[in-house]
């Protein structure tokens, strides 16, 4: 709670429920209260990115001197988990392409590389498909409706990113949109269709046209189970429970593979690869600013650390997306995402006084900042939960009014949310959900070109780990598009680029350089990275205790 102080004299849960009334009118009949400050000022005062005390300057590495969130700086400037001695006697495997990460981007890259005839290993920290992709349910953007154009998609994306995205990357993204949907259908993915078999579309916050295609509120689940099945039925060699802990480099500083920690065998394996594609996703489980997160358990920024240590340039390390509608209650689901599809379909956000306070279809950073403002200025719903123990705060996501205006829509289009409500004993057709922004997405990341190549030869980065496409704020549906579009690009390109001859010498010299630089800058070197798992999973303490006591019967890491 430390960063999210609850105002005293705020409005209690029960009181706020009393202020809440069903709104059967349409958007026009129930106008939002005009924001009383302009959007720039709103972001500056209330968006978590603008808390100056959380920003620092990087002391070492290719982005030395750049602004960076303190918690990200801590992992980028930590010590390696690996010493040269760790590699003595390790098993060595060779492949053409090594994909690190088993979400949508990793699968798309692996499928393309394997299809082009390359030998591919896909190593993932947990199980194939355990990723943020599987939870990205709102939909995927592609300009396909009559009257909509890639140009409009480009303009919306560039504008929402506060004019700071890489124009060439955005152009590739939007031009790939329709083809990406076709490719997914050819993998066997289904989308919601109208009676004539055309793709249904809806708006996203900040888009000028109906451009999000979707499958119920299970778009990411549908995408991921199809891609997982496609990969498992391909020639890709899948390594589950195999997080990468360090990259390997060759005599010229090119990327030459990775060191994998096999969780099941409790030992390291070196994979020599002609090219490496990092698709490790984002950072939500670092819980920036103590926020809850919508992210997958494994989203600990590992890829950022690996790439940075090898010298890859990063960007926008002070810019993150807080999704406006995370669950605030019940507690065990705190931070869980409620899809933007609800707002796209017309659900209001209501404060404790029963008022709308922002146009719900503004870009995510604006809506999130507006919610935080309501809570900080005493118009949020605050109080004890039903058991009187846990303090929570938030505003209402008005599902009952949406249901009243469009009977049946919740069950038909949002079965996942209905289920979530049932499990929490909340009937979302009758009672609004309490929501608060949740840490959702890393806007920046590794600098890439139009084929996902980083600034280090032989190293590609795709998906959330990369930066530049979304500038400083991402639109709904552009992440699922990006992972497939750039995943496929990188997979195809990596095969073309692979060196015909292997690397002469494989080293981890870059770690010695890192340590020297850290010491020269008087950095503490007390912690190690990549983190691999959030602190509360107690991964490192488990590893140590099994090392000491091999008869332990309760190892939550390897079940041995």
């Amino acid at each position: 709670m430390s960063q999210n102080k609850v105002m005293s004299g705020s409005i209690s849960y029960q009181q706020a429920l009393g202020n809440y009334h069903l709104q059967k009118q349409s958007l026009e009949g129930f106008p939002a209260v005009e924001l009383s400050i302009d959007e720039k000022q709103l972001l500056k005062e209330f968006h978590p990115d603008h808390r100056h005390e959380t920003i620092t300057e990087l002391q070492v590495g290719p982005n030395k001197g750049d602004r960076c969130h303190k918690q990200i700086a801590d992992v980028l400037q930590a010590d390696s988990r690996i010493d040269a001695a760790d590699l003595a006697g390790t098993r060595i495997r060779e492949t053409d392409v090594l994909v690190i990460g088993g979400g949508g981007a990793g699968c798309a890259a692996a499928l393309m590389a394997a299809e082009a005839g390359a030998k591919v290993i896909l190593a993932t920290k947990l199980k194939l498909g355990d990723s943020n992709t599987v939870m990205a349910e709102g939909g995927i953007q592609a300009s396909i409706e009559k009257g909509d154009t890639p140009q409009s998609h480009y303009n919306d994306t560039f504008k929402a990113g506060h004019q700071s995205g890489n124009k060439k990357l955005i152009k590739k993204l939007v031009m790939d949109g329709p083809e990406t949907i076709r490719w997914l259908i050819q993998q066997g993915m289904q989308f919601d269709l109208n009676e004539f078999g055309d793709l249904l579309t809806r708006k996203a916050g900040g888009t000028s046209a109906n451009r999000v295609v979707y499958f119920r509120d299970y778009t990411g689940l549908e995408m991921m189970r199809v891609l997982r099945e496609a990969v498992k039925n391909s020639d890709v060699d899948v390594w589950d429970y195999s997080p990468a802990v360090e990259l390997l480099s060759n005599e010229s500083g090119h990327c030459a593979g990775a060191i994998i920690s096999s969780l099941q065998e409790c030992r390291y394996v070196q994979i020599k690869a002609k090219t490496v594609i990092i698709a490790t996703g984002g950072i939500g489980r670092i819980h920036l600013n103590q926020f809850p997160t919508s992210n997958h358990f494994g989203a600990t920024g590992d890829g950022l650390v690996l790439a940075y240590r090898l010298g890859a340039k990063l960007r926008d390390l002070d810019s993150f997306q807080y999704h406006p509608t995370g669950v605030a209650y019940p507690q065990h689901l705190s931070g869980t995402l409620i899809t933007e599809g609800l707002r796209s379909s017309g659900a209001f956000i209501i404060n404790a006084l029963g008022e709308r306070f922002v146009n719900e279809l503004k870009p995510r950073d604006i809506v999130a900042a507006a919610i935080i403002r309501e809570c900080q200025e005493g118009r949020g719903v605050v109080g004890d939960s039903a058991d009187g123990k846990n303090v929570m705060q938030g505003v209402w996501l008005d599902t009952p009014s949406l249901e009243a205006r469009k009977p049946g829509i919740l069950k038909k289009r949002f079965p996942k949310l209905v289920q979530l409500g049932l499990k929490s004993k909340i009937d979302i057709t009758q009672t609004p959900m309490l929501i608060y922004p949740t840490l959702h997405y890393q806007n920046g990341g590794v600098v890439i070109d139009e084929n996902g190549r980083s600034t280090i030869a032989g190293l590609y980065c795709v998906g959330e780990v990369s930066g530049g496409i979304h500038g400083r704020n991402r639109l709904m549906g552009n992440a699922l598009l990006e992972i497939i579009s750039f995943g496929r690009r990188a997979g195809a390109r990596a095969v073309k680029d692979r060196k015909t001859r292997g690397h002469k010498q494989i080293t981890i010299d870059h770690i010695s350089n890192l340590r020297r630089e850290l010491m020269q800058n008087n950095m503490p070197m007390t912690s190690k990275s990549p983190l691999l798992f959030p602190e509360y999973a107690q991964f490192d303490s488990a590893k140590n205790s099994t090392a000491r006591n091999s008869s332990s019967t309760f190892c939550g890491v390897c079940d041995q």
Binding site: K146, I170, L263, P292, P330, H332, N390, K416, C558
Partner: protein, 221 residues
């Protein structure tokens, strides 16, 4: 806000704490926590079998017996709130080998049914024991889904598996070694692969292919 499980609030003993057993270990934790959160809260490491924490990745399947019942149920550990006297075990089933198929090798939609029986020969041996249905933590009518697929009614079959998270528990519940969830996913995939042909998408693809639509990166909206 409350993700921090070492929070002082949750550490102090109060009347909302419940006692249960997880993987044979006695654990006491507040009743507002899920099974996975309760393990972490009690200081036990847990990495394996933890995934999206959102009920959609299928990694955290657990077997649970409640205090007032002898019945063993399958649930997802991230979604299951702990109760007093619960007995919970994380499932550690090894997966049987998968069926192997590629959609691109099925020549036309007329061949799907023939190919299905070649890929899943055991599917027609279903003895309607209800084992898959009992095993499903999502309450899917798995058995009917398999039956529909066997009859060649793939679109209908696939509709039943909309909420399937591929946790593979139904595979463990099947005495005929049918992989019901993979049958369901096959049914869904062939429906998309052969029958999704949206005209709005196709028109736009054509406009891009012929150069009618392009992006000028300097144009301002």
């Amino acid at each position: 806000m409350n993700h921090n499980l070492n929070d002082k609030q949750t550490n102090k003993k109060n009347e909302n704490e419940v006692s249960l057993s997880i993987n044979g270990q006695p654990i006491t934790a507040p009743d507002s926590l899920s099974v996975i959160q309760a393990l972490w809260h009690a200081g036990y490491p847990r990495v394996k079998g933890v995934g999206c924490l959102d009920g959609v990745c299928g990694s955290c399947s657990v077997m649970v017996r409640r205090a007032d019942s002898s019945e063993i149920k399958m649930e997802l550990g991230c979604q299951l709130l702990i109760e007093d006297g619960m007995d919970v075990f994380f499932s550690v089933f090894e997966l049987p080998p998968q069926h192997n198929y590629e959609l691109s090798r099925i020549n036309t939609s007329w061949d799907v049914q023939t190919e299905f029986h070649k890929i899943f020969p055991e599917a027609e041996k279903c003895r309607h024991c209800n084992g898959c249905n009992k095993a499903c933590p999502k309450g899917i009518d798995v058995e009917s889904g398999v039956e529909l697929a066997v009859k060649g009614r793939f679109r209908e079959s696939g509709e039943l598996f909309v909420e399937c998270v591929m946790c593979n528990l139904c595979m463990t519940g099947c005495p005929e070694f049918i992989d019901p969830n993979h049958v369901g996913l096959f049914a869904r995939r062939v429906t998309g692969y052969f029958h999704t042909r949206p005209s709005n998408l196709i028109n736009q693809l054509e406009a891009i292919r012929t150069g009618q639509l392009d992006v000028d990166i300097e144009e301002q909206s």
